[in-house]
Symmetry: C2
Subunit: 180 residues, 2 copies
Amino acid sequence: MKFCSACGHAVVQKVPAGDNRLRFVCESCETIHYQNPKIICGCLPTWQDKVLLCKRGIEPRYGFWTLPAGFMENGETTQEGAARETWEEAAAKVEVGDLYCIFNIPQISQVYVMYRGEIVDGNFGVGEESIEAGLFAEEAIPWDELAFPSIKRTLRYYFSDRKLGKFPVRVEDLIHRTPD
Amino acid sequence: MKFCSACGHAVVQKVPAGDNRLRFVCESCETIHYQNPKIICGCLPTWQDKVLLCKRGIEPRYGFWTLPAGFMENGETTQEGAARETWEEAAAKVEVGDLYCIFNIPQISQVYVMYRGEIVDGNFGVGEESIEAGLFAEEAIPWDELAFPSIKRTLRYYFSDRKLGKFPVRVEDLIHRTPD
């Protein structure tokens, strides 16, 4: 950030009065430009004993497999975001079910919020941001070609929990901070 | 948003190629300025059979009681945010425990992430953003002077769940959308 989005003047970095963190501040109009973590909403869509994955058609991780997930939009709920991403990436309508995983990824200031979901009619396709999609049984999951650690963790939990028939909410930090 | 924070030129609102939503876009440097929901991290801090509340010393809802909660900061986990807010607002050190409530508030593009937490040594004080703090037994909770619906819901769930000795994760939409 170099310029104030409110008035167009150059911003500076400083700790505002009453604060204890560096912020981008406009010394002309006095706007403080806070920057905060973003939510990634996602879904683990199932149909019978299979899980719907899609192959990413965009960077980062082009060509790797993922669960439908993406940046939450203003004005929606986390469940609406999970359903929207499933539609956009895999052209599948899901009935979003219970909350399943929360992943903190502080080094990139993201929080994943993953729901389980059931595909409504078994139909799916290839969304605009994908180059392939498919239903995978556990033994067919491409473990070495998954896009992100959050996706691998969600799938690992799912197949493990499914054997026990219980899906407790999982909260986990995925921390790869640079060593001091 | 009126100006591009990257180059200082005026922004316009338009739907970028491949997108389906209005965004602020800089037609000079082509930066798309996405705006996304914010996370409010909070804690329900307990000591023995009591809950720690603080009276807000800032707007909005100056003078109303709240659980410690506030905007999550970049670089922290949701639990770290919950602990930080408890320190900043009520000068209490908490051992953050299990995730407890997720509230979607789409009309203001916020998601609350509330944890239960235990005050480490029973000590608390009045943080910079508060004008009072106190430990409240259930019968002493000032139900009509609580700052936000999210706080009231969290406390209602807590006292109800405590009677049963189980604290399932609660996911709920707090929707007050304007009627069409």
